[in-house]
């Protein structure tokens, strides 16, 4: 007799046969297929952090790949694992993306041992972005603590490249020690740009440190804030952005004009694995960029 049930082959669906593009979120696609990519350069930043320049090998896929500042990718080292990493390069830069990675676990340790030319896998981009388009015509405060400069670097580039869209721009950065400062070779370049104010502070100075010493909120006192026309982007550990956001709230900046990027454990990037849930909000879908009002409404966010 004839077979009663016929196999249904999902790979024959029209949607899934389209070229892989994670920006088309609603379509059926090979969600776990990675873009094979090559590490084209490795730049040593500190003892713990390296910057990886990564290029998607397939020309068409590389051309299609686009992201907004604040989004992240899943980086796979086949045989080791997959980790979420925020993109640190300019969204307008098409050839490669830059990923600032701290040596912290299994996958990042093997990445730190990797040589130039090694093929890795990239999926994404995922998550929400800083709504820079809304900030047009306003002052912008770009504030980072520690490793927070990695996700902040994409909006910094975007603001610099579109400088005339904004009024006053302040970049404030703080770390524990001078040796932990990321991208310190770029500060001079950023600071020399007319009308961009860069301030760096450390909690503990050393013999060579000439800059200010203290908490990042000390830098805020030096900035003249016009609360009605200012947006803030804050990246860093929860304890830091809590202090900064409370300070800015007191200055009068509305909470829905402050944006933070949250860090959580992630295994999928697509709202499936639940590992990044805060209360029950997926950091990978509704975040990692949240406005501060949303953050204080999330249970156990900070």
């Amino acid at each position: 007799m004839n077979e009663l049930l016929h196999p249904y082959d999902i790979t024959h669906e029209a949607d899934i046969m389209q070229p892989l593009d994670f920006n088309r979120r609603s379509r059926l696609k090979h969600v776990d297929q990675t873009f094979k990519s090559e590490i084209i350069n490795i730049i040593r930043l500190t003892e713990m952090e390296k910057l990886f320049q990564v290029r998607i090998l397939d020309d068409a896929a590389r051309e299609r790949f686009s992201f907004r500042p604040g989004q992240f990718v899943m980086v796979e080292v086949p045989g080791y694992g997959e980790i979420p990493i925020s993109i640190s390069s300019s969204p307008s830069h098409k050839g490669f993306i830059e990923l600032c990675i701290r040596k912290a676990g299994l996958v990042t340790t093997i990445l730190h041992k990797a040589r130039r030319g090694v093929p890795i896998g990239i999926r994404g981009p995922f998550g929400t972005h800083f709504p820079i388009e809304k900030m047009r015509g306003c002052n912008i405060l770009l504030i980072a603590g520690g490793l927070g400069l990695a996700p902040l670097r994409a909006p910094i580039f975007h603001v610099i490249e579109n400088r005339s869209n904004f009024k006053n721009v302040h970049i404030l950065y703080g770390t524990k020690q001078p040796s932990m400062l990321l991208f310190n070779y770029q500060y001079e370049e950023w600071d020399r740009i007319a009308d961009i104010d860069l301030k760096v502070i450390v909690e503990q100075g050393d013999e060579s440190w000439k800059g200010p010493v203290g908490m990042i909120t000390a830098l805020l006192d030096e900035v003249d804030i016009a609360p009605r026309e200012t947006y803030a982007i804050i990246c860093g550990p929860p304890v830091m952005f809590k202090f900064v956001c409370n300070h800015l709230t007191q200055e009068g900046i509305p909470m829905n004009r402050m944006f933070v990027s949250l860090e959580r454990r992630m295994h999928c990037g697509m709202g499936k694995c639940c590992r990044c849930n805060i209360g029950s909000t997926y950091t990978c879908l509704s975040g990692p960029v949240f406005d501060y009002w949303s953050v204080i409404n999330l249970k156990e966010a900070i």
């Binding site: 007799m1 077979e3 009663l4 049930l5 016929h6 196999p7 249904y8 082959d9 999902i10 790979t11 899934i16 979120r25 609603s26 379509r27 059926l28 696609k29 090979h30 969600v31 776990d32 297929q33 990675t34 094979k36 796979e76 086949p78 045989g79 080791y80 694992g81 997959e82 980790i83 701290r102 912290a104 676990g105 990042t108 030319g117 090694v118 093929p119 896998g121 860090e263 959580r264 454990r265 295994h267 999928c268 697509m270 709202g271 499936k272 694995c273 639940c274 590992r275 849930n277 805060i278 209360g279 029950s280 909000t281 879908l285 249970k299 156990e300």
Partner: protein, 346 residues
């Protein structure tokens, strides 16, 4: 929806037809528990006699056939300094039989997350579309509160749905597939008597439930977020994750990669996880966002009754109480929900 009736003899013929060339999964008794109650699992069957449709509840839910405990997401072949990725989805059709309304409602909820509009999962959809589902009505289970969460009836999410009318089954048909297969045997059009008998059975089942007060639970979850209730139940939790394993709707997972002994093959696999396990929310650098067991237990309930409600306007829980039955510490949803409801009442 179309309805037909089928004599029990013809039903046997239908199942035997399916058994001829398709894998059939059905409830099978695998033993008895310490209270001499039968233990059932959804397992592959070869003969009609192995199937026991008159069961109360299976220890594991039917989820296992859509979200297996471990599933390969992709494999990798390593050659010299390079690799190639391969991805396969499960294609083989299979019949899943004897699902109660809670398990079918659970699949509908999983559909929303895994087959919905944001990043639909090809792994899940492929399994779902290749599974022919035959459900069946049953009396309320001990401790079950499916009626209180609206999961005691189903109107879709299956191919055929049976209601036992004694000598025959009343069958709801929800797909052309189901209709075609039913046409292979001697299915009868429903009569006025069939309808009357069916409605009587449904009424009888519905009247047997003991209601659980779910009123205003999402708000209560927020209000009682710091409540002692979580300490009381959380301090019992062994953080073993059994509740999530047997739950028909828990879908969270972890991803890990393994390499073959010769180093030539790698596999990226997802494995079902549980938010009660210690490292569920631990991040690089050592910080754990939910280091206490009561926070993790609370999070599980918060997701089921508050978070899912917020997104999909229904709770994730289907009220089967499998987690309550399997928990070695005796943690059960009706107990926790009753405590939450009475916590701040004088």
């Amino acid at each position: 929806m179309l309805f037909k009736t089928l004599s029990k003899k013809e039903f046997r013929n239908l199942v035997e037809l399916l058994l001829e060339d398709t894998e059939v999964i059905a409830p099978r008794q695998i033993g008895v528990n310490e209270k001499s109650k039968p233990i059932h699992h959804y397992l592959p069957v070869r003969k009609f006699e192995e199937i026991d449709l008159d069961y109360e509840i299976t220890e594991y839910s039917a989820k296992s056939y859509f979200l297996p405990f471990r599933e390969n997401l992709s494999s990798c072949r390593f050659e010299d300094d390079d690799w190639t990725q391969e991805i396969h989805y499960r294609l083989k059709p299979r019949v899943l039989m004897g699902l109660h309304s809670c398990d079918i409602n659970a699949l509908l909820k999983l559909d929303k997350v895994l087959a919905g509009d944001r990043f639909p999962s090809p792994y899940f959809i492929s399994r779902r579309r290749n599974t022919f589902i035959i459900g069946i009505d049953h009396d309320p289970c001990e401790g079950g509160f499916c009626q209180s969460v609206g999961a005691d009836v189903v109107t879709h999410g299956f191919d055929l749905y049976l209601t036992d009318l004694g000598d025959r089954y009343f069958i709801a048909i929800n797909s052309d597939h189901g209709y075609n297969i039913l046409m292979q045997v001697d299915a009868k059009d429903t009569t006025g008597q069939d309808n009357k008998d069916y409605l009587e059975v449904r009424q009888r089942i519905a009247s047997k439930f003991e209601p659980l007060n779910m009123h205003n639970l999402p708000n209560l979850m927020d209000i009682e977020f710091e409540s002692e209730v979580w300490k009381k139940w959380g301090s019992k939790c062994l953080s073993c994750g059994s509740c999530a394993m047997v739950c028909p709707t828990c879908y969270c997972y972890g991803v890990d990669e393994q390499v073959s002994m010769d180093g030539k093959q790698g596999v990226k696999a997802k494995q079902l996880y549980s938010c009660n396990l210690l490292d569920f929310a631990a991040v690089a650098g050592g910080h754990n966002f939910r280091a206490d067991r009561e926070t993790r237990l609370k999070y599980r309930y918060y997701h089921q009754h508050r978070g899912f409600m917020e997104t999909y306007e229904e709770p994730l829980c289907v009220g089967c109480n499998r987690c309550g039955l399997v928990c070695l510490a005796g943690i059960n949803p009706p107990g926790i929900i009753r405590d939450l409801q009475t916590e701040d009442q004088v």
